[in-house]
Amino acid sequence: MKLHRTALILVAITLLLFPLFGQGKQERQDTLVVYAYDAFTGDWGPGPALVAAYEAEYNTKVRLVGSGDAVEMMNRLVSEGARTPADVVLGITDDMAGQLLETGLLRPYESPYLSEIPAFLHFDPTSCLLPFDYGNYAFIVDSQRLEEEAWPTSLGDLADSRYKDKIILIDPRTSSVGLGLLLWSIEEFGEEGWLTWWEAVKKNALTITDGWSSAYGLFTEGEAPLVISFTTSVVYHVLNEESTRYRALIFPSGHQATIEGVGILAGSPRQSEAERFVDFILSEGQLEIAITNSMYPTNASTPLPPAFDWAPKPEHSFSADRTRLEKNLERWLTEWTEVMSR
């Protein structure tokens, strides 16, 4: 019966291994679950440091869940609905907020720190989403791979064939940054012209990634000299690599702006912990977010590191009109997909 014995041993090993599955996964009841986009939770994001600081200060547990890019994360939240394990969601931009606010999954929170945030950043009057950082979309150029004379000075320039295979773009169906560029192009070229621009710029794109992380990773690997990101992205390289190799391109005709918000799930059983975490993000956490997420802090009392001087300020910036956005976004995305797959 050697075989039986072998089988028994194997079964015993398997049963022993099963607790391994649960290893460290047994959540304590007080663990706060925070959904964020993967650039926030990832290797270079502010998530790990923020969570460590918060956990140490309040002697509590936070689990950051990275769920792809922001649009992907929001779609996940919407499809999970009331069953979501999340207590807090972090990184919903003003451009895409409409769809989430409509579901009623979030609840209003009048944080005491809201008064320290300038009025123009309060994009959600219901206070379900509280602004925690903001920035302007911009193309970042790798100065070692593209001569300064060849830098583009407008969105229109990017459609020129001399940028063939030199641009990395991001899919607006899955990424907030991708969506930002889509809205920017509509702002710049209007309903008549934006698709023509995409048609032309498509030929210059090295690739279209699903999220910002892959796009920026490709860019820093040296695969292409231009990528869509934020004016503030260069700050990261100045602070961490003491490098000014990467520059943000300012286009005189203006830049699309974006504000990122944090919100509390109405169905969360940990409301007071969630509020405490949001307060932390809007106060003590602001500097870490500014530095590591490379975005402007919303709390006006946050001292900005000098490296931010490397982030050029656009002369004009525009934000999306909520009602127009809600009315047209689905159609825009369909038209974009149609053109880009042609």
Binding site: K25, D165, L206, T209, E223, E338, R342
Partner: protein, 557 residues
């Protein structure tokens, strides 16, 4: 007249199918029905044909369908072009490295697709080994081969992954052909090329069509390769679009409607494949291979043959080898950093930080899956072989999960899981079940022919001597199947270790397995970390490779 004994025997073997049937119906058919029914749920919640209509009238999805089919056709064509000269070489001559090439050509059967993608990027990428070599050789400042992120990359990766399959199958078939027809042709004065094109090629056609349709099927449901090498709406296949709709856009009904189309096409392809397989079996008598000439007669032929053999070897081995090399060697020199991070001996951030958990998870899941899959595969094989009626139907049922791509299997689990409250343990149970469903046809494929070799007379003699059927099964048949059980266990283990498509589609972000972490590492451009994990997968694949090699050809007394 039926005796009590045969009734008892019939019942025993009938019951043997039950566990597998329960698993197939509960964990494959049910989630599938769940997925497909989602295709008929309209935006309002009730029954509606609108998701289907939307999918089949939307110019974008039509384009995705067209791209899926075109890229599969082109990939198959490219694989054929690369494979056929090799098949000719292998079947016509017996040179020294021949058995090595034949053995290595089985590699694509055992390595997971995520590993192929990684090896491909590491070897052919803009910063890859090939470009670095060419840049050093010709002192260039720009990488000369810009293959990545294009249609070319997809076709090339598919060719790399699939041409050995065609080469292997066609060469094996050709080696066993009866050569007397060719001999007759020569006697009648036909030239060598004339004989080849008019006699040999037509006879090889069934094997070529059969292997090509298999490769087409693989390319049609390609997922990981497109996910990493494709990009944007232009280079999306059905499987990627199903995943994107379900997991990124959050439109379950669109994903389900796309699945419907995908299943339709794959079933048609499989039907064509099994038909061509039957024709293959009927058309030629299987002969022991003849003694062949050692090498081509002409010097030119010899050089060409050598060149082909070398480049094929390089093409198959180099990407895999570069994964191992890159895991310990970077621009800054030799380092075991990534292995130390993998084993948590050194602090690692984010994705790399979850590598050890991924390794233990993957090992635990794979071990569970392999034990369950062998148990189910063996009992189902016994039940199929020892029953009198419904053999074919039961075998079909066992192979059923092969007709559906693993992304769609994962989708069903995802849709069900999103309706359940459950923690990490439920998620892991779902991963195990999905892997089990995927592995079962493979273990069945290994067990069935082995079981067929056991003569019925053994059991009959045991029963004559007073044993029950069950006792005879456990004490006589099972020990005879030990070798096959071991190799099918290793097979299932490797399938589970490398499974990416279904796991990614069904899992929440809390689940980490080796291929998932590899994918995330590739996404964040930590290639070295990905290579360290990849090397572990290579070791597993190598084990399978050795195991399948040693069990082959063993016969029962």
């Amino acid at each position: 007249m039926r005796t009590k004994g045969t009734i008892e025997e019939g019942r025993f073997y009938q019951r043997m199918a039950l566990p597998a049937l329960v698993v197939i119906s509960l964990f494959f058919v049910l989630p599938l029905l769940f997925t497909l029914s989602s295709a008929f749920i309209g935006p309002g919640g009730g029954f509606s044909l609108s998701p289907i209509k939307a999918v089949f009238t939307d110019p974008y999805t039509l384009r995705v369908m067209r791209f899926t089919i075109t890229q599969a056709a082109l990939s198959t064509l490219a694989s054929l072009l690369v494979a056929l000269p090799g098949a000719y070489l292998l079947s016509s001559y017996s040179f020294r490295s021949k058995s090595l090439i034949l053995a290595l050509s089985a590699i694509p059967f055992v390595i997971p697709s995520i590993l192929v993608v990684l090896g491909f990027v590491i070897f052919f990428g803009n910063n890859g080994f090939l470009n670095q070599l060419l840049m050093a050789l010709f002192s260039l400042s720009e990488p000369p081969l810009k293959i990545l992120y294009s249609y070319k990359a997809i076709i090339l990766a598919h060719t790399f992954y699939n041409f050995p399959i065609i080469m292997n199958l066609v060469a094996t078939y050709a080696m066993h052909l009866d050569r007397r027809q060719e001999a007759a042709s020569y006697t009648l004065g036909a030239s060598k090329s004339e004989t080849f094109f008019r006699i040999t090629l037509p006879r090889l056609l069934p094997a070529i069509i059969s292997s090509a349709s298999l490769v087409f099927l693989f390319c049609f449901s390609s997922f990981a390769i497109i996910l990493v090498l494709g990009g944007g709406p232009r280079y999306s296949t059905m499987e990627v679009e199903i995943y994107r709709q379900a997991r990124m856009v959050g439109s379950a009904s669109a994903a389900a409607a796309l699945s419907l189309f995908s299943i339709l096409v794959t079933s048609l392809l499989l039907a064509a494949y099994s038909k061509s397989q039957q024709r293959l079996v009927q058309s030629e008598a299987y002969k022991e291979p003849l003694l062949l000439e050692r090498r081509p007669a002409h010097a030119l032929g010899r050089i060409l043959a050598l060149l082909y053999a070398l480049s094929a070897l390089l093409f198959i081995l180099a990407p895999i080898a570069s994964v191992i090399v890159r895991s310990v060697y970077s621009t800054s020199g030799f380092s075991l950093k990534w292995y130390r991070q993998l084993l948590n001996l050194e602090r690692a951030s984010s994705h790399m930080g979850s590598a050890l958990a991924a390794l233990t998870n993957s090992l635990a899941i794979a071990l569970t899956v392999s034990i369950l899959a062998v148990a189910l595969g063996t009992s189902l094989a016994a039940s199929i072989e020892r029953r009198k009626r419904g053999k074919g139907a039961l075998e079909m049922l066992g192979m059923l999960s092969m007709t559906v791509s693993s992304v769609i299997i994962g989708l069903g689990y995802f849709l069900i899981a999103s309706r359940l409250h459950g923690g990490a343990s439920l998620s892991y149970a779902l991963v195990v079940l999905a892997h089990l469903v995927i592995a079962l046809p493979f273990t069945l494929r290994v067990m069935l022919p082995e079981y067929r070799k056991i003569p019925l007379s053994y059991t009959n003699s045991a029963r004559t001597l007073g044993s029950t059927t069950g006792h005879a099964f456990f004490t006589i048949e099972l020990p005879l199947l030990r070798g096959a059980m071991v190799s099918s266990a290793i097979f299932a283990f490797a399938i589970s270790m490398g499974e990416f498509n279904a796991t990614l589609t069904l899992s929440s972000s809390t689940i980490v397995t080796l291929p998932i972490v590899m994918y995330r590492l590739i996404g964040s451009y930590n290639y070295q970390g990905a290579c360290a994990l990849g090397t572990i997968l290579i070791i597993v694949s190598a084990l399978v490779f050795i195991a399948t090699g040693t069990t082959k050809g063993k016969k029962h007394a």
